[in-house]
């Protein structure tokens, strides 16, 4: 690694961590309707939204009504997006006259954007009109992280409130999350990206004649605004097919830094929001510490793997500076590794390199990050509520060892909560292993894999892990655009999204109804180094025990074959 590599990593951490306490407090105040810096500007707009929609912002909902509203909103969004994609040929803003999408691909894409996955079995510039991009995908790019944020806020209220059924109002949370939580950040990032040279245009693609005499079509579009929300909203669906490896999506070293930091800017800030909700900043710091440990371990392993010379080329008379296959040469190993770890730690899924071409272990880390359920910072809202589920599991596993009924921040974990927790634990194995097993043994499904053996298996595993974890990044080489995989991955994405959201809302409802026992020397300590280590180990243990056999058959077999020369 060279000096500028260290500089990139340092700048990344500073950009992400330094503003987090302040942003976290801002998000807390905004979500609870307290006065913030932007209130004078945004409140009239917020009130207008309520008046137009006929929402009474003061009316609280219990968890069932909240869930009903959330599901209805997502169902309508899903149908609308599907119709736009299928019918884009007949809709305006389509200068390239692109036809409507094939139905299974449209369904897959609609599910993908509604669930904040942004798995793309298509290539943006070749398949989507500007209308689809702006009024279809971009809308979901905003509201899907807003929904995640709303669910997190409900979880926080469930822990913080006592003896109540009132968890807030979904429509209010959704509006505030979008208006205060996402829009201002996106506006700033989009302008910065335009400054760095990302296009923001509604013109038709430019036809260029190359020096060699060939014809080239240069795609344009309202890219900067899309990219801003794609990064900040942990969406990840690129405007262009190759995502942030494309020179228009990610033109410079500065844009690369901004974009990679934007992935986890809000998720890190939300840790502090949580601290404000439960009135205990130490809890934020403990969770942050655990996430940072896992993040740094993953980054270290990936850097180590990607900076090593490719063992397959070791015998050849070439000098290798790391393994560069599949990487954008403008960014190199370090920036690619940092992006790969960040995008899979969070549920972003945008890429600036091809994960498929990473070394076996370099590919294992992003895969494992997703297998943990993307709780290392994770998606907007989704990452932290996923992590909190793990906290509850940790507390339940180890909590009995202090001789009390396990409780988190004074809320007892009883049979009902444990049943819901177990349901969320089953999401990853059911969403990843079962469809992957089907894909591996059905002859038609397995044909999508470009490599045989261990690497081919990694491709299948990666696709379904990415879907269930709502990540959206892909191991290229996996031909996902078949009706079978479109539908199966769509199912995995739905399971991965609502398999968490529904139990989380139910747990929030159940916790809010309980009283909160006072914290004392007899309570289970959920701050401090002991808990950080315990939580981190529990995460690794649960993830590892579930996925070690499949990882052994994929990346690990590949790795040991490579180092063993087999």
């Amino acid at each position: 690694m060279q000096l500028h590599d260290f500089g990139l990593i340092l700048a990344f951490f500073v950009l992400v961590l330094a503003p987090a306490p302040w942003l976290g407090r801002y998000l807390y105040r905004a979500m609870e309707g307290q006065r913030t810096l932007l209130t004078p500007l945004l409140q009239p707009l917020e009130r207008l939204c309520y008046r137009v929609a006929g929402v009474d912002p003061g009316a609280g909902q219990d968890w069932k009504r909240y869930t009903g509203a959330l599901l209805a909103f997502n169902a309508v969004g899903l149908v609308l997006l599907f119709l736009i994609l299928v019918g884009q040929g007949a809709l305006p803003l389509n200068p390239q006259h692109l036809p409507g999408m094939e139905w299974s691909l449209a369904f897959n894409t609609a599910v993908s954007f509604v669930t904040n996955t942004n798995w793309q079995a298509y290539s943006g510039e070749a398949s989507l009109s500007y209308f689809s991009q702006m009024l279809g995908l971009a809308v979901q790019n905003f509201v899907s992280p807003a929904v995640g944020l709303a669910v997190l806020v409900v979880f926080c209220r469930g822990i913080a409130r006592r003896s109540t059924a009132d968890l807030g109002n979904f429509w209010v949370d959704l509006t505030r999350a979008t208006l205060y939580g996402l829009l201002p950040f996106c506006l700033v990032l989009a302008l910065l990206l335009v400054w760095q040279g990302v296009p923001q245009s509604l013109h038709a693609y430019v036809q260029a004649h190359t020096l060699a005499g060939g014809e080239q079509s240069i795609p344009l579009g309202p890219a900067a605004s899309q990219i801003a929300i794609k990064q900040l909203g942990t969406n990840g669906g690129g405007f262009f097919g190759v995502n942030s490896a494309h020179p228009f999506e990610n033109p410079t070293a500065w844009s690369n830094l901004l974009e990679v930091a934007a992935i986890i800017l809000i998720p890190v800030a939300l840790l502090f929001t949580f601290g404000h909700y439960v009135g205990d900043r130490r809890q934020s710091r403990a969770l942050l510490a655990s996430m940072l440990i896992l993040f740094v371990l993953g980054l270290g392993a990936t850097l180590w793997a990607e900076l090593r010379p490719n063992p397959a080329l070791a015998a050849l008379p070439v000098e290798q500076i790391g393994s560069l296959e599949g990487k954008e040469s403008r960014f190199g190993s370090v920036a690619s590794a940092l992006w790969a770890v960040t995008t899979t730690a969070a549920s972003n899924g945008s890429v600036n390199a091809m994960h498929d071409s990473f070394s076996a272990l370099g590919g294992l880390v992003p895969l494992f990050n997703m297998m943990l359920g993307e709780v290392i910072f994770g998606g907007v809202g989704a990452g932290l509520y996923g992590m909190l589920l793990f906290v509850l599991i940790t507390v339940f596993l180890a909590g009995l060892m202090i001789g009390r009924t396990p409780e988190y921040l004074g809320k007892k974990l009883e049979a009902r909560e444990v049943r819901l927790l177990v349901a969320t634990l089953l999401v990853m194995p059911l969403g990843v292993l079962v469809p992957a097993a089907l894909a591996a043994c059905l002859p038609g499904a397995a044909a999508a894999v470009s490599n045989p053996g261990a690497h081919g298996f990694s491709q299948i595993l990666y696709a379904y892990t990415s879907g269930t974890a709502n990540n959206g990044s892909a191991f290229a080489g996996f031909g996902a655009n078949t009706p079978y995989h479109n539908l199966m991955i769509a199912l995995a994405m739905l399971l991965g999204r609502f398999g968490y959201i529904l139990p989380v809302l139910a747990i929030a409802g159940s916790l809010a109804a309980k009283t909160r026992a006072p914290q004392g020397s007899g309570s289970f300590p959920t701050h401090g180094p002991l808990f950080v280590v315990l939580l981190t180990l529990t995460l690794l243990l649960v993830g590892g025990l579930t996925f070690l056999p499949s990882l052994a058959l994929g990346p690990l077999a590949e790795h040991f074959a490579a180092v063993g020369g087999a």
């Binding site: 060892m401 089953l426 591996a440 043994c441 025990l545």
Partner: protein
């Protein structure tokens, strides 16, 4: 051995019985418990039994990858796993069952004289229903739990409490409850039966220690759900391995997959869970405490606040002499002699404590009792004492003695008045002593705090439990005793309403409250408290309102109940952590062996360098079965709970059971592998 005392009759041989004698019936029970209906109560073990059945069937199908001998061995060890778990449960039950059996024997064939119209009819005790009225005479056993509605009698309750001194039971008042199977030794009682067959104290005791009838406690239910969840996850993990292997162009032997499944699912805790619960209840029964449900015992582990009656729990209950103060110009021997003579004939605890105190300090020649002309305490004078050799010795409350001496309050000599004031302020009671019309000095009577109680409260505080002393004393006295005993808070001048209000207030703050009581007026508070411990010699109302009954009527038992509750939870948590941590080593043993045919390079994961794939899989499954047996003593005894704060307790238990759970199987599996290879089984 006392035939009237089945409880303690059973305990005596039990203590003497060797472990081996309990093992034989438990071994037999282990096979009886293979009944699928019983297995279903422990879902994890049901999965193991199912897998074992499947594996046994697979032994008949030749598989090129696995020799029949190895398959048979794996099937055998899978069955052992189930049997070991059954054995653990049977062993836990066995200890309680021996006691239950002898209790039952005591109640068998008991007859009752039931009131019918104007007369009585003789019926079997088992036929009595709630509301029936029976008459019991001297020499007969009381046929069931009930309340005395008429008569006074001495009752020998040794069968239940082990205490052989008879106690008085009478209608009305706080001593009206009687327990079935205890014996009336004098007079007669008319008893209204308050429990239907199957609901009596005896029945509850029996139900608590028998696994099949035991209700799972809330934490046990929650833990069960988690264990089922883990089992489901591992089912998915193992079931999907075969298609994955096919994709890689190979085939995994089903017997190996069965072995992998059983080693991964939490069999250690799954197999011992019920034994832990039964043994916990058994420990409670040994303390002579009856729980109406396991829920109360668990709740005891959770309590934040203990409300304890001062009298009998924190203090001895009687005021004792602790010092004497001379009036000006009086010699110490003169005061001591006067106090002694005034108290010699006084048989109240206060009087004897004065005599004890003086005899400990001075070598006084006490006059013989018969020479004294005793003046007993009278309500009119509020004095007591004796006349001896013409001199009149008196002691009594300050005002009473002053009135006797015809002195005004302000005529009390100043130094003595100061001392008297001090005694009152410190929560004590001052008595004055006079002889022949002359004021000699004062006696300091005080409530004596039981030795060691302060330390126990300190331990509780470290565990995050606050103690609240409940007393009828005035706030001044209460505060003084509270300071001496080291309780955290005090309710002075307590009334039943005050107690109830305090419990509600604590509960509103999210705290769990435990209290003990005996009187009928304690019943609402006992019912409101999360853990209510009633004294067996109290009223039926209190016994019904409480969820725990102490047969020895010792209020300090509450502290022991808290410990048992905590031990129960800690033992489950420790073994769960151990069980899950074990899986890491098992993966490293089995995965390389399992995939040896597909990807030989995965041998790099074989950290233990096991002999062969066959021995690796067999070693893992043998370890998995044996660890249940190894941990049976821990499950039955329970993990001891130190009086530490939660953070330290957690660190300690994590180091032992978490880190231990990670490391132990690496060593164990390697050792078994060496043994199996040496014996030539693989």
């Amino acid at each position: 051995m006392n035939a009237q005392n089945p409880l303690h009759g059973a305990q005596a041989p039990l203590a003497g019985t060797s472990f081996a004698a309990l093992c034989a019936p438990a071994l037999r029970q282990a096979f009886v418990k293979l009944d699928p209906r019983r297995l279903w109560r422990a879902p994890v073990m049901a999965v193991v039994a199912l897998t074992a059945t499947l594996t046994s069937l697979l032994c008949a199908v030749p598989d090129s990858g696995v020799s029949t001998g190895l398959a048979l061995q794996i099937a055998l060890w899978l069955w052992f796993t189930v049997l070991f778990a059954n054995f653990a449960e049977a062993l836990a039950e066995g200890r309680g069952r021996a006691r239950a059996d002898s209790l039952r024997a005591g109640g068998r064939g008991l007859m009752a004289r039931r009131r019918a119209g104007d007369g009585y009819e003789t019926v079997a005790a088992a036929a009595l229903r709630r509301g029936d009225v029976v008459r019991v005479q001297a020499g007969e056993s009381i046929p069931g739990d009930g309340e005395v509605i008429d008569g006074v009698a001495a009752v020998n309750e040794a069968a239940i409490t082990g205490e052989s001194a008879p106690v008085i039971r009478a209608a009305g008042g706080d001593r009206s409850a009687v327990t079935g199977n205890t014996q009336v030794v004098s007079d007669w009682l008319l008893v209204r039966i308050t429990a239907n067959p199957g609901e009596s104290t005896l029945d509850r005791m029996i139900a608590l220690v028998e696994g099949a009838k035991r209700q799972k406690t809330p934490n046990e239910v929650a833990l069960d759900i988690l264990l089922i969840g883990l089992t489901l996850i591992f089912l998915v993990v193992v079931a999907t391995l075969q298609p994955f292997a096919r994709f890689a162009g190979g085939d995994l032997p089903l017997v190996y997959l069965a072995a992998l499944l059983v080693t991964l699912i939490p069999t250690t805790i799954g197999g011992l869970l019920s034994a832990i619960g039964i043994a916990g209840m058994d420990r409670l029964v040994r303390l002579n405490v009856i729980a109406k449900s396991g829920r109360a015992v668990e709740a005891a582990g959770d309590v934040h606040v203990l409300m304890l009656d001062k009298t009998g729990t924190i203090t001895f209950g009687n005021r004792r002499c602790s010092a004497m103060v001379k009036a000006p110009g009086v010699t110490t021997p003169a005061l001591a002699e006067a106090a002694l003579i005034a108290s010699l004939a006084d048989e109240t605890p206060e009087g004897t404590s004065i005599v004890d105190y003086l005899k400990g300090l001075h070598t006084l020649q006490a006059p013989p009792r018969e020479d004294l002309d005793v003046v007993p305490f009278s309500a009119e004078t509020r004095l007591s004492g004796a006349d001896w050799r013409g001199a009149r010795y008196r002691k009594g409350a300050v005002d009473a003695v002053l009135a006797y001496l015809h002195l005004g309050r302000d005529e009390l000599p100043a130094p003595l008045a100061r001392e008297v004031e001090k005694i009152a302020q410190s929560g004590g009671t001052p008595l004055l002593v006079a002889a022949d019309g002359q004021l000699l000095g004062a006696i300091h009577l005080k409530d004596v705090v039981k030795p060691g109680i302060r330390e126990r409260f300190g331990e509780l505080r470290r565990m995050g439990i606050r103690t609240v002393m409940v007393t009828g004393d005035n706030p001044l006295t209460a505060a003084a005793i509270a300071a001496e005993a080291g309780v955290d808070d005090v309710i002075a001048e307590a009334t039943p309403e005050k107690k109830l209000a305090r419990i509600r207030q604590e509960q509103a703050e999210g705290k769990l409250v435990a209290m003990c009581g005996d009187g009928a007026n304690d019943a609402p508070a006992l019912a409101q408290a999360d853990v209510g411990l009633a004294m067996n010699d109290g009223t039926q109302a209190a016994r019904e309102a409480a969820n725990l009954v102490d047969l020895d009527s010792d209020p300090t038992k509450l502290l022991d109940v808290v410990r048992v509750g905590k031990e129960l939870l800690v033992t489950r948590g420790a073994l769960t952590t151990f069980s899950v941590a074990n899986d890491v080593a098992k993966y490293f043993a089995i995965l390389p062996a399992l995939f040896a045919g597909l990807y030989p390079q995965l041998g790099a994961l074989d950290l233990m360098r096991l002999h062969s794939p066959q021995s690796a899989i067999l070693s893992a499954i043998v370890f998995n079965a044996l660890i249940i047996v190894v941990l049976i003593p821990l499950a039955l005894r329970g993990v001891r709970v130190q009086a530490l704060d939660a953070a330290r307790l957690l660190r300690r238990n994590l180091l032992i059971y978490g880190v231990g759970g990670l490391v132990a199987p690496f060593l164990g599996i390697k050792l078994i592998d060496l043994l199996l290879t040496a014996v030539g089984l693989v």
